[in-house]
Amino acid sequence: MNFEHSDDRRMLADTLVRALRDGYPIETRNAGAYGEAGYDPAVWQQLTELGIVSALFDEAAGGFGGSGFDIMVVFEALGRALVVEPFLGALMAGRALAAAGGHDAVLARIVSGETIAAFAHEDAQAPVTATPDGDGWTLSGTKAVVHQAGAASVFVVSVEQPGDPLVLLVPADAAGVSVRRYSVVEGGGAGEVTFDGVALGPDARIGTDGQGRAVVDAAIEAGLLALSAEALGAMAFVKEATLGYLRDRKQFGVPIGKFQALQHRMATVLLEIEQAQSAVINAAAAFDGDDATARARALAAAKYTIGRTGALVAEESIQLHGGIGMTWEYAVSHYAKRLVMIDHQLGDEDHHLQRYIDLAKAA
């Protein structure tokens, strides 16, 4: 039993945390996050040159890491700095490609950071369908709220169909692909991705017959772990900021942290964060295990815990700050938004609680 990260992994985390602390202040972050592109391409380039995406993949996929704990430390660090650059898309799209094999050149460019990818999964009102056409497909319909869709030059698109889902690699500049771009509330770009009769050849397929579910799961499971770890990092920042405020802010002639009503709220926040950290550790450990059901349950438990605790930490940090916590100028408000909105990605607290229950029946 050992709850310390390995030296290599700690070094990676330290390097990343330091680079972000020095080079990614909240002003830089917000300029990218709320700007036209929804991220900062120069920052993206700098961070990918540090090898951050490579850390999310194993050697077979061209990276140097790829374990659950690698994903955990990277996304924790990204969350701590509230990074909006498209790492999640790289992870999820790349994991789908790596799970299936083939498309090595695209995967290599994703891992190196040259290509920005997005995983387009949730269907909008007009779901995406793939009609067989010769030995390829014609793709139609719309994917909903694809994060960093505007930045992506390739999409990994899941298409639900009877039996196994079909997973397709679609260049953003293919004829018939359009993106309705918008910002999301906590900053960062997203969009509705519409496929209007997009003609795809057989080489667009990711994986083979019967592999679709496993490919989609590979992407989603990595995404769940990443989002959960990102939330942990954001919580750590918010906790420190809130504690600092409780010590510095004076009312009635004393630091407000002297008031028991606030102390007890903060103590609860602390212990729920510790519990959330345990949930993510459990998920990262199970992520590398052979037991598929145990892995799925641990990930569901983590995302459920993060959903609940993220909202708690967001709401309590705003309350404990008072008016300052409500201001755009103060970093905590942006972290609080992210913590709440993580629950709106890849299934919320209720979704994962239900999934946890269903998986218990399956086990």
Partner: protein, 402 residues
């Protein structure tokens, strides 16, 4: 990062499991599993079995009869003990007084009292709380005045202790008493060992919310205590009291108890029905169960993180406050769900069903009779050992620095 135990630790776990399989009498584990009353003789029987193996005082140093286990081994043992439905070790002598004597007692006191804790010669109880001193323990008013009586140096003790758990069985009580009324409240307290048969001591049972007699009031009227029974230095008792309260609390979350009771809850939820289907398939009940199950899975790892930190040389300190709060919330929620699981049959009050060997016809499902008493009894978890609010005060000061 590695969440698994080492091969040595796994082997130890197997050794512990084998021991419970071989040595834990089924009669006792059944009583514990079914939530029935344990008599004094039952608890003594289990102590003797553990002592024979050298595992009773498992955190004492070897020289005083401990097995020399690591903090991780102790954690494994405590968990396996709960999972096997072994009776709890009565903590007052073994877990509370023992460590204080080992650290602060005289050689003579150690040689006299420690073996008697192990072999069961003395049943100890704890004289801390008073009617006017609960969370504010240092506000205690029981006095001890040093006098010469009949040519002997004695402390004359007057006052009242309360919430004295299992004091009705006790031969001895360790007490915090005020020896210097003029000093600051923490500085005038001493730690005394008192024979319960001394004239002037009266024990009155307190019937608790579940109808059971688990705790007592203990009254002291001109009780003469030999001065040799002072532990450490006069007026330094608060230091020893605090040591006792922080000692060996890595198992304070009671994860083993929660796992064992959650397994029982799952079994009940499979057999009880609601709207014609198993309760486990009722979406609202299933959601409540899943929430606590996830909390518990998280808690297991939180607890192991603290244990690993202690094993690596860290102090358990204030982290045990986190374990206590969350651990007791989880345990209480499981007892609440178990009560709810029995529906209407949680209502009948059948105290005789709590008795060992009761063979009457149960009202409703087997074991329903213990569900509500157990739920109400376990409200104590968030009150004793420093209420959960006191634990939050400790977290605020010691961890958050507020």
């Amino acid at each position: 990062m590695d969440l698994s135990f080492t091969p040595d630790e796994e082997a130890f776990r197997e050794e512990v499991r084998d021991f419970f399989r071989e040595k834990l009498p089924a009669r006792l584990s059944t009583l514990v599993r079914e939530g029935r009353r344990l008599r004094k003789a039952d608890m003594e029987e289990w102590h003797a079995i553990l002592n024979e193996r050298g595992w009773l005082a498992n955190h004492w140093p070897r020289e005083w009869g401990g097995p020399g286990w690591s903090v991780i081994q102790r954690f494994i043992f405590d968990n396996e003990s709960a999972l096997a439905h072994a009776p709890r070790v009565v903590p007052f002598g073994v877990n509370m007084l023992g460590p204080v004597l080992i650290k602060y007692g005289s050689e003579e006191q150690k040689r006299h009292w420690l073996p008697r804790i192990l072999d069961g010669s003395d049943w100890w109880c704890q004289g801390y709380s008073e009617p006017g001193a609960g969370s504010d323990l240092a506000g205690l008013n029981t006095t001890a005045v040093r006098e010469t009586r009949d040519g002997r140096e004695v402390y004359v003790v007057n006052g009242q202790k309360t919430w004295t758990t299992l004091g009705q069985h006790a031969d001895m009580i360790f007490c915090l008493v005020r020896t210097d009324p003029a000093a600051k409240k923490q500085e005038g307290i001493s730690f005394l060992l008192i024979d319960m048969k001394t004239p002037g001591i009266e024990v009155r049972p307190i019937t608790l919310i579940d109808g059971e007699q688990e705790v007592n009031e203990v009254f002291f009227t001109d009780v003469e205590v030999p001065v040799e029974n002072l532990v450490g230095t006069e007026n330094d008792g608060w230091t020893y009291a605090k040591y006792l309260l922080t000692y060996e609390r890595t198992n304070i979350a009671g994860v083993g108890f929660s796992i064992a009771s959650f397994e029982q809850l799952k079994a009940v939820a499979r057999t009880q029905t609601k709207n014609g289907r198993p309760l486990a398939d009722d979406p609202l009940f299933a959601a409540r169960m899943a929430r606590v199950e996830i909390d518990l899975a998280n808690m297991q790892t939180t607890n192991l993180r603290v244990v690993a930190a202690v094993a690596g040389g860290g102090a358990p300190g204030a982290e045990s406050s986190m374990l206590k709060i969350k651990g007791t919330e989880i345990r209480q929620e499981i007892t609440a769900l178990t009560r709810r699981a029995y529906g209407s049959y949680a209502a009948p009050y059948v105290p005789e069903a709590l008795e060992a060997g009761w063979n009457g016809e149960p009202v409703g499902p087997d074991d329903a009779a213990t569900a509500s008493p157990s739920y109400f009894n376990n409200r104590k978890l968030s009150i004793f050992g420093g209420s959960n609010e006191i634990q939050k005060n400790i977290i605020s000061k010691a961890i958050l620095g507020l």
